[in-house]
């Protein structure tokens, strides 16, 4: 297989002394006749922040959903902390326990208070007592400025607040890897900054993250590495200053030019 095309920049490869938090090899996924991922290779080291950029439909979301086993993959292998999670007989609930994912549309549970949204999985999956889970939720909510929203229902919150609650809900599972799927795309512009600040704080705290985003400025700021996806492949990956200023692939150049023309960078 010629899957090495994804690794155009050897400088971006992972130093051998750090364990790979996530490794994806030859990942393929089709929906009917439509091939969304045509062999994706990606390695993420612990504490790395990877931003996935690319046009809508380039497969960013599908890639994240495959890693979280929300989609059944057609081919390829995924390892989490060195353990294969795509093999037969893998307990998908156990895998998901270690991977947090936050969606574009928040997907908070509308019939539960903010606190219950955050404590449900720690109680039911990790077996925390109500008091432990509540204490942890209070701490996380306070940290992200949501302390007084604890007893509110999601429909009382702004989009930005809801998305921050969704991030806290994922964090409450103490994941080893956080995946964010265009988490600011559904927000009004003035609400985006708050959410990005939260993500920035996580990055500074050393969280390993895989972020699909349209916010190029943010990706440039925060990413240790940026991957450009097109046609179901990682066309190019490099540290942000290199990828944004001197992209080597023609498709990357064309995509970035369109972004600049649209006034988004």
């Amino acid at each position: 297989m010629d899957r090495d095309t994804g690794r155009t920049d050897p400088g971006a490869s992972v130093s051998p002394d750090r364990a790979d938090a996530l490794r994806i090899q030859g990942l393929r996924k089709s929906f009917g006749p439509h091939q969304v991922l045509r062999g994706v290779d990606l390695t993420v080291a612990a504490h790395e922040v990877i931003c996935l950029i690319g046009a809508s439909g380039s497969g960013k979301s599908t890639l994240l959903r495959c890693v979280n086993l929300l989609e059944r993959i057609d081919a390829g292998t995924i390892w989490l902390d060195g353990q294969e999670i795509t093999g037969r007989g893998v307990d998908e609930n156990a895998v998901r326990r270690h991977i947090g994912i936050v969606f574009q549309s928040f997907n908070l549970f509308p019939h539960m208070t903010v606190e219950r949204n955050v404590t449900l999985a720690p109680m039911k999956v990790l077996g925390l007592s109500r008091a432990e889970a509540a204490a942890q939720a209070a701490e996380l909510l306070n940290r992200f400025g949501l302390g007084e929203k604890r007893a509110d229902y999601p429909d009382r919150l702004s989009g930005g607040q809801q998305q921050r609650v969704a991030i806290v809900r994922a964090l409450a599972m103490r994941p080893r890897l956080m995946m964010l799927d265009e988490v600011t795309s559904a927000l009004d512009p003035e609400l985006v900054a708050d959410v990005l600040d939260v993500i920035r704080e996580l990055a500074e705290g050393g969280m390993t993250m895989l972020i699909a985003t349209h916010e190029m400025g943010f990706a440039r700021d925060i990413a240790s590495r940026v991957c450009f996806l097109a046609d179901g492949e990682i066309v190019e990956q490099a540290p942000p200053d290199r990828l944004f200023s001197e992209p080597s692939d023609e498709r990357t150049r064309r995509f970035l030019r369109r972004i600049v023309d649209a006034g988004r960078m």
């Binding site: 979280n68 969606f103 999985a121 919150l157 609400l191």
Partner: protein, 303 residues
């Protein structure tokens, strides 16, 4: 759970409710609607009173003395109190309703399951729903009420007519209610399942804590609709000999040759069903108002 979720929404105020009933609520509208109502009612009463057989119908169906006697009953004269018999309808209704809610949910969850291991159960559940919905309730009542005793099994064959009747009601209604549950489960957006599963919750835990609570909210009005109809259908159990309201009315008319007892039974059933119907309407309206108000979370743009 309901009130808790939308603490800001109390009962709609009375004037709003009245205007919905009477039209636009203005003085002129009120006058018009009152007049037309009076005219229509007067016309109906006139037709009834002026019909050639009016006196006879009034005597046979609406005789106050007979109505009172049927209501209170007189065992020595060979007939039971329709009012007391209604108590059996109520008990059968409550017992059947509990059974239906449980069996219906069970069937719905089986039909929604995806695992290959559960395929045989899914087939059984699907066949059951098709058959139970397709066979008239009255035939199911006969089949259980006459079939179970004929088997001469211990316990199963030794029950009262009311118990067989409740069993038949549960068998018939659970099929409908399982479809209502299924519609509710399917109405919860797939992204909720993804959110629940992505947190590591098992399929069962996702159903129990995330999907079902939301599904049940949307299906309460259609469920209550089915239960209004269940209240009336308890009358069919009288066919097995259980002395419920309709059967008691029948015994009265057989004894005294006056049908006013049936009108008493009808009025008693109305007293049971109308509050439930009004309550259902209230819930549907509240749900609509909620949807019109729009949940800020859905658009994602906040308040």
């Amino acid at each position: 759970m309901q009130a808790q979720r939308f603490p800001e929404q109390g009962l709609p105020d009375l004037s709003a409710r009245r205007s919905r009933l009477l039209g636009d609520g203005s003085r002129r509208g009120l006058l018009l609607s009152t007049t037309s109502t009076v005219v229509v009612l007067a016309a109906l009463v006139a037709v009834f009173l002026l019909a050639p057989g009016s006196a006879q119908v009034r005597h046979t169906f609406f005789n106050p003395t007979d109505m009172w006697q049927a209501l209170v009953g007189d065992p020595k004269a060979g007939y039971y109190s329709v009012g007391e018999a209604l108590w059996l309808n109520i008990r059968m209704f409550v017992a059947a309703e509990i059974g239906i809610l449980i069996v219906g949910l069970f069937v719905a969850i089986i039909r929604q399951s995806t695992g290959p291991v559960l395929l045989p159960l899914r087939v059984v559940a699907t066949v059951y729903v098709d058959v139970a919905r397709g066979v008239p309730l009255i035939l199911i009542i006969f089949a259980i009420g006459f079939g179970a005793p004929a088997l001469r099994l211990t316990v199963i064959s030794d029950q009262s007519a009311a118990v067989y009747g409740v069993a038949a009601l549960v068998i018939s209604y659970s099929a409908y209610v399982s479809e209502v549950y299924r519609a509710g489960i399917n109405s919860v957006h797939r992204s909720q399942v993804a959110a629940a599963r992505s947190l590591g919750l098992s399929q069962w835990a996702s159903m129990r804590y995330v999907i079902l609570p939301q599904a049940i909210r949307t299906i309460i009005p259609p469920l209550l609709n089915d239960f209004i109809s269940l209240q009336k259908d308890t009358a069919l159990v009288g066919l097995l000999g259980a002395i419920e309201a309709n059967k008691a009315a029948e015994l009265y008319s057989d004894t005294v040759f006056n049908y006013s007892s049936y009108v008493v039974a009808a009025i008693l059933f109305l007293i049971l069903t109308i509050p439930l119907a009004r309550f259902t309407d209230h819930l549907i309206r509240r749900d609509q108002a909620r949807r019109l108000a729009g949940a800020p979370g859905v658009s994602g743009t906040g308040q």
